[in-house]
Symmetry: C2
Subunit: 229 residues, 2 copies
């Protein structure tokens, strides 16, 4: 194998890029170190020159993903011209619409991530998401309390609760999405159940925030049905 020398940072990023692509395609467990170095055209030892273990690479990758997520939300949260309710609404709506716009990719990714063997990667992503995004959400909550539209005693501690509520709803969606009922009538029944779950989550969130009923829309009926067409 020809020897190609690169700078540390460039090589490091290359490992993360290739690993991310392969992990998204095949999952963490199903991607061997052999697969990664083969895709890069380098030798095994080089991998362990940059990472102490395969798990170490996963941690580094998720750290980078979390950084990117925070960076994409930060401007909106800091925008002084928006009120808290608008920010919270965008919080849900923009990510929801982005996912729907990339529906095919998201479905494929979900199918991979929700396999048993990828539980570690899925859990790490979820946890990093909550940990890093909670402070941003807490800012929105505090703003809402100051504006008098929310009533939350512990914004800092309530933010992660709300985010986990959101992930709980996402999990319920994925359950149906990955095991779609065969018959038409069964699908309608599942959609009705899902709709009730969405509403239950919305009511829960409103009450935690001290916001009036039906003031929060995490997902519209149209957005929900759009996933199943």
């Amino acid at each position: 194998m020809p020897r190609v020398v690169k700078e540390y940072d460039e090589r490091y990023a290359e490992f993360l890029d290739v690993a991310q692509r392969l992990f998204y395609q095949k999952g963490y467990d199903q991607t061997s170190v052999q697969d990664i170095i083969q895709a890069m055209g380098v030798a095994k030892g080089l991998f362990y020159h940059y990472f102490r273990s395969k798990a170490d690479l996963l941690d580094a990758l998720i750290e980078r993903m979390a950084d990117q997520a925070v960076a994409s939300l930060q401007p909106m949260v800091n925008d002084p011209t928006l009120d808290a309710q608008t920010k919270l609404h965008r919080f849900f709506d923009s990510t929801q619409n982005w996912k729907l716009a990339n529906k095919a990719f998201m479905l494929e990714l979900t199918r991979v991530l929700y396999r048993d063997e990828n539980t570690l990667m899925r859990t790490k992503i979820a946890r990093a998401g909550v940990e890093r995004i909670a402070p941003l959400l807490a800012d929105i909550l505090r703003q809402g309390v100051a504006e008098g539209v929310y009533d939350v005693e512990h914004p800092e501690e309530s933010a992660p609760i709300l985010l986990e509520l959101g992930q709980s709803l996402a999990n319920a969606m994925v359950d149906v999405l990955l095991n779609p009922p065969a018959a038409e009538t069964d699908l309608e029944a599942s959609l009705a159940t899902l709709e009730r779950q969405v509403r239950a989550h919305e009511r829960a969130m409103e009450r935690i925030l001290g916001a009036p009923p039906c003031s929060i829309v995490m997902m519209t009926t149209e957005q929900l049905r759009a996933w199943f067409t």
Copy 2:
């Protein structure tokens, strides 16, 4: 190796018993099929005569654990002499006290289960717990609505939300429990944060239930501090 023939059910239960003991001691990934058959004094092939894979054994084991958990809660939930508030209080208090009574074992088990390599097992246990126990909790919620002490629009869909809220609090506890601050002052700070998290979860739960503030106690200050002495 001497050949010992047993009946199917007996051997099957023996596999589950030995696997549970080893998984609790060393974790799922760190327990090899070799470890299990060695502890039983049987050959490799026998394992695959009873289970299609190692993952299959884990599923069977967790199924059995969930059955036992439901069976231990069922009588209390069905007791017609108890009101809903009493049932919900026992729901938390009895499990909390049982865990504290078996503190040493629970700490050891937690240290194992919360290792990265055991994420699959931990997640499966949590998920099976929510799925199987949610119907029981939903019964309590419906009873509470009938008694006029709770105000929940969707009891069936709210039950899993409350259970996940409980697990979210448990995770926060474990975070501190497994990474105890070195200095005395740091520990006090962590305990204060933890206390706020407990209160935030209690307030969230009360509001979801439509119950008055401070009517729910998931964990007393004494119970919380008891974990750190």
